[in-house]
């Protein structure tokens, strides 16, 4: 009897989970599928997941007075070559890497000492400072976008990598997360390091950092995903220079360059942009989940 009810509830749970998973996966499925198919198949919603992959001829290519042979190819080849040809996709990807990694590196350099001080040092006003950190967590990015933009503009930093990186270098979320983790590190370990002759800075980098690797990975996930996918801020501070565009912004530029219904190449570009995150997730799946459960965030 008991076993049966268990089975029933298990089946129920899985049905709900499967529905949830489908809702999440469906857009990805469409993106991937569209990036394989010819325009005709996309319009008529036919050809299944992979499309018939019949040879197609690119009309734009013909207009450019190339031979018909040169302009005829498989839809999948057409979509992906178009994606890379129509926009500097590799450049966008490289920019994305530069920006997200610099943001993360500087965030760590700033957040770790701050978190250490807030977690383990006794100084006057510590609780007030920590209160401010919590308060800053509540401020939405969009609320301070305008003053930030004005400041950067005054310093002549718009349309530079600096504009993309500087506003994010102090991560209150990072400070908060690491502080909570550092709280769990036993005081004795820090005292032992002091007795061994370490300075407070050495303790941060040589004792706290290595013990905090799981928390740091969790933070890396949040930071990198957030800034790799960020569209809002690059859209504000990068106004035209294609060489500075991050992948999401590039995708937007890409769309406006194309004829209205060229979904194939666009979806191919989108696939290329999300690929690094998906690959990273698959490689570090376990760490990923560990990290997220560690932060207690769902």
């Amino acid at each position: 009897m008991n076993k049966r009810t268990n089975l029933g509830s298990e089946v129920g749970k899985h049905i709900i989970l499967i529905i949830g998973a489908l809702v999440v996966i469906l857009p990805f499925y469409l993106m991937l599928s569209f990036s394989f198919k010819s325009p005709a198949e996309i319009q008529s919603i036919s050809g299944g997941f992979f499309g018939a992959q019949e040879m197609m001829t690119d009309r734009k290519c013909l207009k450019a007075e190339r031979s018909e042979e040169e302009c005829t190819m498989l839809p999948i080849v057409y979509n992906y070559t178009a994606a890379f040809k129509e926009a500097p996709l590799l450049r966008y990807l490289l920019n994305g890497v530069i920006v997200t990694l610099s943001i993360f590196a500087i965030q760590v350099i700033i957040a770790l000492p701050c978190a250490y001080a807030l977690a383990k040092l006794n100084f006057w006003g510590r609780d007030v400072v920590f209160g401010l950190v919590i308060f800053c967590l509540l401020i939405p990015v969009h609320a301070i976008a305008l003053p930030l933009y004005l400041m950067l503009a005054k310093f002549g930093l718009t349309n530079t990598f600096a504009a993309l990186v500087i506003p994010w270098t102090i991560s209150v979320f990072g400070i908060f997360l690491m502080r909570q983790f550092f709280k769990t590190v036993p005081d004795d370990l820090i005292n032992a390091a002091r007795m061994d002759g370490m300075s407070e800075f050495s303790i941060v980098w040589k004792v706290m950092l290595p013990t905090a690797i799981p928390a740091l990975l969790a933070f890396a996930i949040f930071s990198v995903v957030a800034h790799w996918n960020d569209y809002y801020w690059p859209r504000i501070v990068i106004t035209g220079d294609q060489d500075l565009m991050t992948p999401p912004l590039g995708l937007r530029m890409f769309k406006s360059d194309m004829d209205g219904n060229e979904y194939g190449p666009m979806m191919a570009a989108a696939t290329v942009i999300v690929a690094p995150l998906v690959v990273a997730f698959l490689l570090a799946q376990r760490r990923f989940i560990e990290g997220i459960t560690l932060t207690g965030m769902k």
Partner: protein
């Protein structure tokens, strides 16, 4: 080696005073134990000596120099923590190397990448490795050098922690309950090892523990601390046989000393519930006293002896080498423990009525304030 002096040290956390104007002098190469129940301020005291905590008032002196303003890292003391506090991400060898690297290598030599190009680095590192090797041979942990602390047992971690303190050749060792996380057998074994280490190194040891057995077995002198004060500072022998107050008497010794309510008259006669215990109180003062007799100074006797207390056995604790008899006396009013050779009490059983005698020379008496009343 160093002399360590504490001059009227006090420490308060908010309004609670955990250490009350305390003085202590530790001489060169001495093994001193600070023993007391948990919460008596002994660990705080050790942390003040180490420099990990600031005293509210008073001075800490090392070799005659006041070190109040000196950071923990510069006092050249080594500490072994109860939790061992080994760096979890480093191997045993790296753990042992850390304090030496920090002290022997210059800032640039320790710096990543740049350090590799500094001329003296490799010769200094070789020296460090040989020191670590020597220390690990002393402690018999050479086979563990490549493991991480997480892969070691408690006893092994404890050795590594001692090793990390040892390699540096500090002026004094501070030990904060280093054995309390070990199982009973290993604790007894490590007691002997630490004493041996002290004999070999001839360095000053300050050892904090709540276990009176550790204090009695290991130390040259022991300080019994309660409620932020040192009640008595003396050799283990003196503390055991001549405790200054009833609290010290009750804290030191296992099983606990038997305390009986008694009365003293002007002539120095001491009576407990009508039975004369002894007549040798020197400073005779009429009034109520507490009589203390250690369990091993009492024994079962035949009824022909002159002064006896009648009691009833309520529990028999057999330790193999000894038997502890728990008895009620004074018509069940009070409980006492008698420690006896198994052969002497082989025929006793729970519920038996017995006669208890005692060694008059060893009886202690404490006045109403708990002070030891000098005996003849």
């Amino acid at each position: 080696m160093a002399e360590i002096g504490l001059r009227s040290i006090s420490k308060s956390f908010g309004s609670t005073e955990v250490i009350k104007s305390l003085d202590l002098s530790v001489s060169n190469g001495e093994f001193i134990t600070i023993v007391g129940p948990s919460g008596c301020g002994k660990s705080t005291l050790l942390r003040i000596i180490a420099g990990l905590e600031n005293q509210s008032t008073g001075d800490v002196e090392i070799d005659g120099n006041v070190v109040n303003k000196t950071r923990a890292s510069e006092r050249d003391l080594a500490m072994v923590f109860q939790s061992y506090a080994l760096y979890p991400h480093l191997t045993v060898q790296q753990n042992l190397m850390v304090p030496l690297k920090l002290r022997r290598l210059s800032f640039l030599e320790r710096f990543p990448i740049i350090g590799w190009f500094m001329p003296n680095r490799s010769s200094k590192l070789d020296e460090i490795v040989s020191k670590v090797q020597a220390a690990s041979e002393t402690l018999q942990i050479t086979h563990l050098l490549d493991r991480k602390p997480g892969q070691l047992s408690g006893g092994q971690q404890q050795r590594v922690a001692v090793g990390r303190a040892m390699v540096r050749e500090p002026v004094a060792f501070l030990m904060d309950e280093p054995l309390s996380n070990l199982d009973a057998g290993l604790r007894v074994h490590m007691r002997a090892e630490i004493s041996e280490l002290h004999r070999d190194l001839k360095t000053t040891f300050i050892y904090v523990t709540h276990d009176q057995a550790e204090a009695l077995t290991m130390s040259d002198r022991m300080a019994v601390m309660m409620d932020g004060e040192i009640l008595q500072l003396d050799t283990p022998h003196e503390i055991y046989n001549n405790p200054s107050t009833i609290r010290v008497a009750e804290f030191v010794g296992s099983p606990k000393i038997n305390i009986l309510k008694g009365e003293c008259d002007e002539k120095g006669n001491l009576n407990c519930f009508g039975t004369k215990i002894t007549d040798s109180i020197k400073l005779a003062q009429k009034g109520n006293v507490s009589v203390g007799i250690r369990p091993e100074h009492m024994q079962l006797v035949s009824s022909k002896d002159k002064n006896v207390i009648k009691g009833k056995i309520v529990y028999r604790e057999n330790l193999g080498s000894d038997i502890f008899l728990h008895l009620t006396v004074n018509e069940g009013e009070q409980k006492i423990i008698v420690r006896s050779e198994p052969s002497n009490v082989i025929n006793t059983a729970v519920g038996d009525q017995v006669m208890i005698g005692w060694d008059e020379q060893k009886v202690m008496a404490f006045d109403v304030d708990g002070e030891n009343i000098t005996m003849q």
